[in-house]
Every structure is written in C-alpha cells, then in structure tokens.
C-alpha cells in the first residue's frame, strides 16, 4: 500500500456546521448543491401548486392577476435556475471527480465560490417578494414587459431578478471552467477521454454549453438592467432600440440551457440503464458523438422560440431544429438496445430511468411537432408549449434526477434507500405527471393561452384544467414518500457497502461515502468500465471483433 501513516493532526475543534460552510471537498459541495436545489425545488413546487389551484376552475378564486404573474414567473425561475441546473451541477460535482479517478476538482476553492453564489441568489429572489412584488414578466422577461414603465415591471423585483440571474450565471461559468479543467487535466492514468463514463461526457458537453452560452445571457441581462436603471435604450424602439434584440440574445443562451438541463440527466440514465440491465451501454462512441452533436446544434436553433416574431429566417431554424432529432434518436436507440435482451432488475433507479425514456420521448416528439413552422404559428404561447417543456424538463430532467438520487444516494451516504417507498414515489409521480401535463396538449390545441390567470367557463377547458390540478397535487404528494424515504434511510437505512448495484464506473471502487481525496488506490483502467473489469477479470469486451463462437453465447430460445 503506497500510503504513509501520518500522526493524526492536532485535535482542533471544528463544529460540523463550520466544516460544511468552509468545505472545499467536491463531495460535500456536491451534497450542498443537491440540498440547496431541493429547497428551491420545494419552493418552486409550492408556486406551481398556486398556479394549478388558481386554474382549477374558471374565475379568480385565490390570487389577483398580478400575483398570478409573479407566481408563474418565479416558479419557472426557481425551477430552471435554482433547481434543475444547479442540481445537475451538484451531481456532476459529486460524481465527475470520482468517475475519472481524481482526488478533487481542479479548483476546490472556486468550486466552493460557485456553490455559495447560489443561496445568495436565491435569497435575493425571495427578498423580491417582500420588497414590493417579485419579477412578473415571465422567466423570459421580454421587453417591454420587463421594462421600468407603466404596465411593465415597476419596482425592484425585476432588478433583483436580473442581479440574481447574473450571480447564478457567474456561478455556472466558474463551475464549467472547473469541470473542464478537471476533466482535461486530472484524469487518472489510463482514463482516456474515450474511457470516460457517459455521465462525465455529458457534463463535459454541458460545461462547454455553459461556458459559451451563459455569458451571452449575462450581456442581455446587463443591457436590460441598463435600460431599466440608467436610461439606456437597447430594447426601446422609441429611442432606436430593438425589442427583438433581447429575444435573440436571450434565446441564444436559453436554448442551449435546455440542453444544459437535460444532457446530464441523459448521462445519469446512461449510467443507470447498463447497470440494471447487466449489459454495457450500447454504442458508447455513438452516444458520445450524439451528445457532442446535440451540444453543437444547440447553438444554431435559438430562433425557433421566435417564429411568430416575423423577424427570423424560418426555414433555417426549422430545419436545424428537426436535425436535433437525429442525435437524440441515436441516443434513444442506444438506450433501448442497452435494455434489449438485458437481465433487468426493476429497482427504483431503473424505474425512474424508464420514466425518463418514455416521457422524454413524448417531449421530443411534441417538440418536433412544434418545430414545424405552420404548426408553431398555431400553437405558439398556448398550453401545448407548456406541455412540451414539462415533458422535456420534468419528464426528462426531473425523472433523471430522481433516478440519479436513488442510484447515488448509497454512495453519498453509505446507506440504501427504501425500495418500496421509492416505488410508491415513482408511481405517484409518474401518474401525477401525466395527469398534469398530458391534458395540456389538448388545452393547447383548443387554444388555451399560457400565462393567463383566468379563462371563460364557456371555453370548454374546465374539465381538463381540473384534471391537471389533481395531477399537480398528486406530484406534490409524491414528494412525501421521497422526504420520508430520505429521512428514514439516513437514520436507519441498510448499510450500502462500496458497490451495492455492481456498478461499472470508478465511484464504486471506493468506500461509501468516499474518504477525502477519494481513493487509496485505483483499479487498472483499461475500458470505460474499470470496476466491471476488476470484478470479472479481463474478459474481452468492447474492442473484440465478433468471432465464430459468439453465437454460442446467445441463450437458447432466441
């Protein structure tokens, strides 16, 4: 053992709170990210319940129009910027250094800085509720709605929103730099780029997207801030500015942001599916190239959010949007053929991964429908779009995150989560999700506009809205088994051991939870599944060309 036993350090008293607040350990920071993101997930969830409550019946029962605008704006803001993006960054923080055999991130203190900007931004956003109303122009904050003028966004709420988003953006950028340097410079010997686990690959592509796209929205937000506070006229047509300019710059970030929110979730299920079907991931390299292709194409499709402005070149943006279906389809193919003929174990992580697969498929298909220009002119800003984005971000990202939580919770805490509670949560969430968002397709096709607090009872939308509200509260109910599961498992969960799932990647080669600096020694890394190789000896796998005896491995009856 190539370690040296040192005398234990002088016992200095450190409270555990002090320890967590000052930590630079990527694992603790990762857990802080996850906890912080869950807090804002619950806040954003409460706001969503407010939306569903108001829409359950025609008429204004609970909130005024302005409050409704604040609620849906802040729901999206919390969910996108303080839940999905940081949650995935948190899992990346925890998992990536472990998966590449590194002792920590490249810049541990910058890592801590990236994290601590997030609660600060969250507090700024929450403060806006008590300083005269939060931002209410939608999470897109288009001009002139977001401008400081009558019928626009008067008051400090919108400014706090801008400042908070700039903070979150800076946090993301620093995190992306950190991830990229870690992955390029700190891989263990033998861990070549094409042996990196898929989760790590997706974080790599995500980091490139964050690095190149987030500064662009920062510039848009700063221009908005200058317009609002210093008499600027970037987005003011009366003074020679251009309101469409904001939309262009905003979506130049916000479309890649969609991939920032979904690629790491794809990475998570690409770790889960092979482990629970006892097979290697089908088409590892194709998957990597598909991920890179999605990232690259992601920069060229932003204006499909702006078809109806009449200010963008429709055929190009429609065509490249359809093109994205190709690498996404490659991934679907990879996942399905990973499952095909596998020895499936229906544990909770696999259930959530299958939830991702099926729901993200629907989200992809109804997205491709929206990419068609004539269709989009009919459904733009209707509930169809709400259905689509939730099938992608909830059906995709959130199911992936839940799968990842159940998958890596044993590694993070050393304890297993309860399978039965997990299955209860999955069923409630899956049913609630479809009850909530499937009817929105019909509502959108029937013409119900999004971001409206009320609708006429003669419109024929009553039943579907009530159904969606019932579904929404079912989703909320599905959080109770999750919370109870985490609570009980932390206290008295079954000890997990190093490798409870018989995983493939390096995080399962160390203890649960891993010690500071992660590894005493590493297994030899000769493929993208070093722990599998260690467990089963050096059986030939990925690189072996199909030989004559291969047919004999096919079980009888096929």
């Amino acid at each position: 053992m190539a370690t040296t036993a040192l005398h234990p350090a002088a016992p200095a008293y450190r409270s555990s709170l002090y320890d967590w607040v000052t930590t630079t350990d990527h694992k603790k920071i990762g857990i802080l990210y996850v906890i912080n993101s869950f807090v804002f997930f619950f806040i954003g969830g409460l706001l969503a319940m407010g939306v569903r409550l108001e829409l359950a019946q025609p008429g204004l029962q609970f909130v005024a129009d302005q409050t409704y605008n604040e609620i849906f704006t802040m729901h999206a803001t919390f969910m996108i910027f303080l839940f999905v993006i940081p949650m995935l960054a948190g899992f990346g923080n925890y998992i990536v250094p472990l998966q590449i055999g590194a002792p920590d991130m490249a810049f541990p203190r910058i890592n801590a800085l990236s994290f601590w900007m997030l609660p600060l931004a969250g507090i700024l956003l929450l403060l806006s509720f008590v300083t005269g109303g939060s931002a209410a122009a939608g999470w897109t904050s288009y001009s002139p709605l977001a401008q400081d003028r009558p019928l626009g966004a008067v008051g400090p709420g919108q400014d706090l929103w801008v400042v908070a988003l700039v903070l979150i953006g800076t946090s993301s950028i620093l995190g992306a730099v950190n991830f990229l340097v870690t992955m390029f410079k700190m891989r263990a010997p033998g861990m070549t780029l094409f042996r990196m686990p898929i989760m790590t690959w997706t974080v790599l592509v995500t980091s490139v997207l964050v690095l190149m796209a987030t500064p662009v929205i920062t510039s848009a937000l700063i221009m908005l801030f200058i317009d609002r506070n210093y008499g600027g006229s970037f987005f003011d047509p009366a003074n020679g500015g251009d309101a469409i300019l904001y939309q262009n710059i905003f979506w130049f970030y916000s479309h890649p942001a969609v991939y920032v929110m979904v690629l790491p979730a794809m990475g998570m299920i690409s770790e889960i599916l092979p482990v629970f079907s006892r097979k290697p991931l089908f088409g590892y390299r194709a998957f990597v190239f598909a991920t890179a292709a999605i990232g690259a194409l992601g920069f060229s499709v932003w204006a499909h959010h702006m078809f109806t402005t009449g200010a963008v070149y429709l055929p190009f943006f429609s065509f490249v949007t359809f093109l994205i279906a190709i690498p996404t389809g490659v991934k679907m193919f990879n996942w399905i053929f990973t499952l095909w003929g596998g020895k499936l174990t229906f544990s909770t992580p696999l259930l959530f991964a299958l939830g991702f697969l099926s729901m993200f498929l629907i989200g992809g298909i109804n997205g491709a429908v929206s990419a068609s220009v004539p269709v989009d002119f009919a459904i733009h800003d209707t509930y169809w779009v709400v259905a689509h984005l939730h099938y992608v971000l909830f059906g995709g990202s959130v199911f992936g995150i839940m799968g990842g939580l159940y998958y890596w919770f044993p590694k993070m805490t050393g304890r297993m989560m309860s399978e039965s509670l997990g299955k209860v949560q999955f069923v409630l969430m899956f049913v609630g999700f479809n009850l909530t968002f499937f009817p929105m397709h019909q509502l959108g096709l029937a013409g119900m506009p999004r971001r409206i607090a009320d609708y006429s009872s003669a419109s024929g939308w009553n039943d579907l809205n009530l159904l969606a509200t019932i579904g929404g509260f079912t989703i909320a109910a599905s959080m109770l088994p999750l919370l109870w599961n985490v609570f009980v498992s932390l206290r008295s969960g079954e000890p997990a051991g190093d490798d409870p799932w018989e995983g493939n990647t390096l995080e399962w080669a160390t203890s649960s939870p891993p010690p500071p600096y992660n590894f005493d020694h590493l297994p030899p890394i000769r493929s993208e599944r070093p722990v599998f190789d260690q467990r089963h000896g050096d059986v030939p796998h990925t690189k072996t060309p199909p030989g004559p005896d291969r047919t004999q491995q096919i079980p009888a009856g096929r």
Partner: protein, 219 residues
C-alpha cells in the same frame, strides 16, 4: 475496500500528483484562465451583437444629437488615440515580463510588470477624463442608442481593464515578495493572457467605434 482515514497519499502513491497537475502539458490555472477568457469573449460577443443590431436598424449612424442638431461625434484626439497606443504598448511590456520570468530574470520581470500596471492605471484615468468630456458635450448613457451602446461597450471594457489592473497589482505584489520563478509563475502567465485579451477587445472596440465609417441617412 477499506479506507484508512489517518493515511494520506504521498508522492509514492499511484494517485499522487493528480492534484498537482504534475503530468506536463498546460497547467491547470492557465487552462482555467483560457476557458474563462472564452466565456468573456462570448460576453463581449453579446454586446457587440447588440451594437451591430442597433446600428443596422438606425436610419443614420451616428444618429443626430437632439441637443445640438448635428450627428454625434467622438474624437480620437487628444485622449483616445494615445490611450490606445499606450494600451497596445502595455501588452508588449506584459509579454516582456512573462519572457523575463521564464528566464528567471526577476528584475526585468518586476520592471515590466510595474510599467504594465502603471499604463493600465493611466488608461483608466484617461478613460475617466474622456467620459467626463463626453458628458459635458451631451453624450451620456441615456442619450439614445448611440450613447447607450458607446458607454456600455467601453464601460464594460473599462471594467475589464480594472480587473486586469487588479490582477497585475497582485502579480506585482507577489513578485516583489519573490514568489515567482522560472518554474512557478502560473499567475503571471494567466494574468498576462487576460491582459492580452483586454487589449484585443479594445483594438476591436476602437476599430468599431472610432474607425468604422458611419452610414449616411437612409432615404
């Protein structure tokens, strides 16, 4: 696997050195700075895009100043031209400093960093004077798209010069404390990369705002 928490990895361990980027190639801090500069390029790309958009939409560029009735005009002399020359010079002195510390010539390194730092400060002062002049002539952030884009672009460049000056100040301070040598000077390399970036942005901005001819009024 068991984990002995009282044992620390040493340089004999198979994983030692991973935390210290001892495996050759570009160093972690320099790679980090290059990536950060990439994001800064995209930030300025957003601002430049806004500038081109606004300019393309304008009936005439530079537009008419409502106060004087004439088109806005910003003068290269006496301030901006010399400031530009100075900033370009400072990129050279900055690079001389890097080459000096690579040869372990600390005296030349300190001299060149100090000159670079000084030029940075002078540039900021000149920019401040220029802003005050323009304000007196009636060009402010709120005087239409011309003022808004001019002050936003140059202002954010100035903010980046300020950040660069702080970096150079830290490098100078650490250099005077003798912390840099031919082997250990990542901070110098990183700060100089940033300073070159700031310089390049200024060259683009200067070409755009001062050299690119305006458009005649469209009929």
């Amino acid at each position: 696997m068991t984990t002995d928490t009282t044992a620390l990895t040493t340089e004999h361990s198979p994983v030692a050195g991973l935390a210290h980027d001892a495996r050759g190639g570009i160093s972690n801090p320099v790679l980090g700075m290059l990536l950060f500069i990439t994001s800064e390029v995209m930030f300025f790309a957003g601002l430049f895009a806004a500038y081109f958009n606004v300019r393309a939409n304008a009936a005439q560029w530079p537009p008419i100043n409502p106060e004087s009735g004439e088109a806005f005009h910003i003068a290269i002399f006496p301030l901006v031209g010399p400031a530009t020359v100075l900033l370009i010079l400072s990129s050279f002195t900055c690079q001389f400093a890097v080459w000096a510390i690579r040869r372990n010539d600390r005296t030349a390194f300190l001299r060149n960093i100090a000159v670079t730092f000084g030029i940075g400060v002078v540039f900021l002062i000149m920019q401040g004077i220029d802003y005050a002049e323009l304000g007196r002539e009636g060009l402010t952030l709120s005087s239409g798209t011309y003022g808004t884009t001019y002050f936003t672009l140059t202002g954010f460049h100035g903010a980046h010069v300020f950040a660069g000056v702080i970096m150079l100040g830290v490098v100078l301070y650490r250099g005077m404390a003798g912390q840099f040598s031919a082997r250990h000077h990542d901070a110098v390399e990183a700060a100089s990369l940033y300073w070159h970036f700031v310089d390049v942005v200024w060259i683009l901005l200067f070409s755009l705002l001062y050299l690119l001819p305006g458009n005649a009024p469209r009929v």
